[in-house]
Amino acid sequence: MLEQELKDIWNNSSQTGQISIETNQLVEELNTKIISIQKKIRIRDNTEITASVIGILIFGYLFYEIPFPITKAACALAIIWFVFIIFKFRKSKIQNTKNSFHLSLTKQLKQQKATMQQQADLLDSATYWYAIPPFIMNFIFILGLGNPSDYNWVNSLAENILPLSVNLKTVTIIGLALFYAYAIWINKRALNKDVKPTIESIEKMQQQIKNE
């Protein structure tokens, strides 16, 4: 009796209002939303790729222009690193765009956990692929900068931008160290504040499902 009464209460709960849907207009709005989301994803992807391509062009130019061998080697490493970053981001995005809403609750949670775990691994390891390598490359790049006149190198633009004196080198390296330390902190914060709690929530729900 109580069971049927509860079901009636439940079913009556949606009778307090009416939902009317204009399907033709809705389909247009849904398609617009899909296009808008795809556009945003494309812009975000292109922005990241463009940033890396700009980095490749800058270091490519420096590789060609700068005569100092150690700095040249750092430029080559930087180009390789930028290419690696493009592939790393693309791979992680492909894995993250899987839509799992149509799966059963248990499968959806499993997939959601796998996706979050990938994000956690990416953020957790960012120090070793996103911060330390470019810092080392920048360090080598700066350390390798010598006296342009020793190589008969004349390039006013590069001379004005590059930290050629010891003082400028020290300040730049300290600045870079602080910047990359901040980048590491941002990643760790995102990991501990957002991703880890989400994984814990998913695990908690998986445990709730397992329990009888």
Binding site: W10, Q15, Q18, I21, E29, F101, L105, I209
Partner: protein, 169 residues
């Protein structure tokens, strides 16, 4: 299945299921998210995932899967990007003009209160149960075995009855 994205087909799905979806959204919505926001997110995900429907279960059971997954993710704040979305102009929620039975309304408030004492997964099981889904259908939505659901439902029902009986009798 070329007709899957057919507007009429989609319209049929929504017409049959809109109040069921809304009831689920109404239970899971936590401020600042409103049931209407969740409702339109469910509609959006149905439209987006329609191509993936393979016909292993009925389309209405499949709609439950999407509704539960979307609502649960929103409640657990898994999808921070979907916290608040622009409302679709094509979906209208209109309160019914006739006088609402205060006693029914009060009983629903009690039911909602008692459901809120359950954990997230028990909540999803009880809403499917209250919507009169069979254990087989609940199994299809949740991915659990029918036996497991039967055992869990026994415990959940007991808890719910203990909570609500003194309130509505």
């Amino acid at each position: 299945m070329g007709k899957q994205k057919d507007d009429k087909y989609f319209e049929g799905i929504l017409e049959r299921n809109k109040y069921k979806i809304y009831r689920i959204c109404n239970i899971y919505a936590v401020a600042p998210i409103e049931p209407q926001d969740l409702f339109q997110e469910v509609v959006f995900q149905i439209w987006k995932s329609l191509d993936k429907f393979k016909g292993k279960s009925s389309i209405d059971t499949w709609v439950y899967k999407i509704s539960i997954n979307v609502c649960l993710r929103s409640k657990m704040k898994f999808d921070k990007s979907n916290n608040k979305t622009d409302r679709f102009e094509s979906i209208h929620f209109t309160p019914i003009e006739k006088e609402i039975d205060a006693s029914k309304q009060e009983k629903f408030t009690y039911l909602k209160e008692c459901i809120s004492t359950l954990n997230e997964t028990d909540t999803s099981l009880i809403v499917l149960y209250l919507d009169d889904l069979s254990y087989k259908e609940i199994a299809a939505v949740t991915g659990l075995s029918e036996n497991h659901i039967a055992v869990k439902m026994k415990r959940i029902r007991k808890k719910l009855f203990e909570c609500i009986t003194p309130k509505i009798t």
